[in-house]
Amino acid sequence: MATPPNSNMSPAEKAKAFDMAQLEMEYRVDLYNAMTASCFAKCMDTRYKEGDLNVGENSCVDRCAAKYWQVTGIVGQMLGGMQQQQQQPR
């Protein structure tokens, strides 16, 4: 998470916080782009008969985004658990 830069930190800490915030932002953008691309590929009819999303595409995108988000959360939790397990035996 981005730490507010106006708090009284040393310059090294500040730089580290900014680096982390940048990494986080890049990760979020990557996640968003991957989700958009895969849900577009899954749901969109590429013949483009009409400008708006039709009902089927709408609910398909809805479910796709929800599932993607859920799976991302599960994978994140699993990775976090694995890290903890690896750290604890030492």
Binding site: D45, N54, V55, G56, E57, N58, S59, C60
Partner: protein, 201 residues
């Protein structure tokens, strides 16, 4: 090289956007370059506000869609009823004798005040019954198609087939199971045909 090219392009852009500049200077600046026919303009992408998104979701929701389709069907049915109610066969026989009339007599009889009143009443009744029929059809069909499509999350011809089947069956509910099967098959076939004809999917 890159710098000079860039400034050249910018010059072209400014002269193309200014209609008062002479075309000869434009062409002189354009020699040796690709012909620039028209400067492309791009509209900025405007994100919808939350209110706009909510309004879109409201108008795209299944109940609203089905009510709109029902209202449109009702208007169409009223017009149809008015068109067909005017050529009602019962107006061509005299009420008290039941004998068929000649064309001249029937026209004359039809323009009597009492007959006019009667025929207007008849027309309104028929128009209303047509409006109810068409409106109900539109409402049931549109609503069921919307629900089926949002559950299946696909936009293809099977939606129309299933919605037509449901509509035909539910409108023939009072005729028993056989009539329901028949209505299902016919309305499904009809709506698939219409979809193919209009090339929606």
């Amino acid at each position: 090289m890159v710098d000079g090219n860039d400034s050249n392009m910018r010059d072209q852009g400014s002269s193309a956007s200014d209609p008062s500049s002479s075309s000869s200077s434009f062409q002189a600046a354009n020699t040796g370059q690709f012909p620039v026919l028209k400067q492309k303009t791009y509209e900025p992408v405007v994100l919808p506000t939350p209110e706009q998104i909510l309004a879109g979701q409201f108008w795209d929701s299944c109940p609203v869609k089905s009510v709109i389709a029902g209202a449109l069907g009702g208007v169409m049915g009223a017009l149809f009823g008015a068109a067909f109610g005017a050529s009602d066969p019962s107006a061509t026989t005299l009420a008290h004798t039941g004998e068929p009339l000649t064309l001249r007599q029937s026209v004359k009889a039809a323009f009597q005040p009492a007959a006019m009143r009667e025929s207007v009443k008849h027309l309104r009744a028929r128009s209303w019954s047509y409006a109810k029929g068409f409106g109900g059809f539109g409402m049931v069909y549109s609503g069921s198609e919307c629900v089926i499509e949002s559950v299946r999350a696909k936009h293809d011809v099977y939606n129309s087939a299933a919605a037509g089947c449901f509509t035909g069956a539910s409108l023939a509910y009072q005729g028993g199971p056989k009539a329901m099967c028949f209505g299902c098959a016919t309305v499904a076939a009809f709506s698939v045909l219409i979809d193919r004809f209009m090339d929606i999917h």
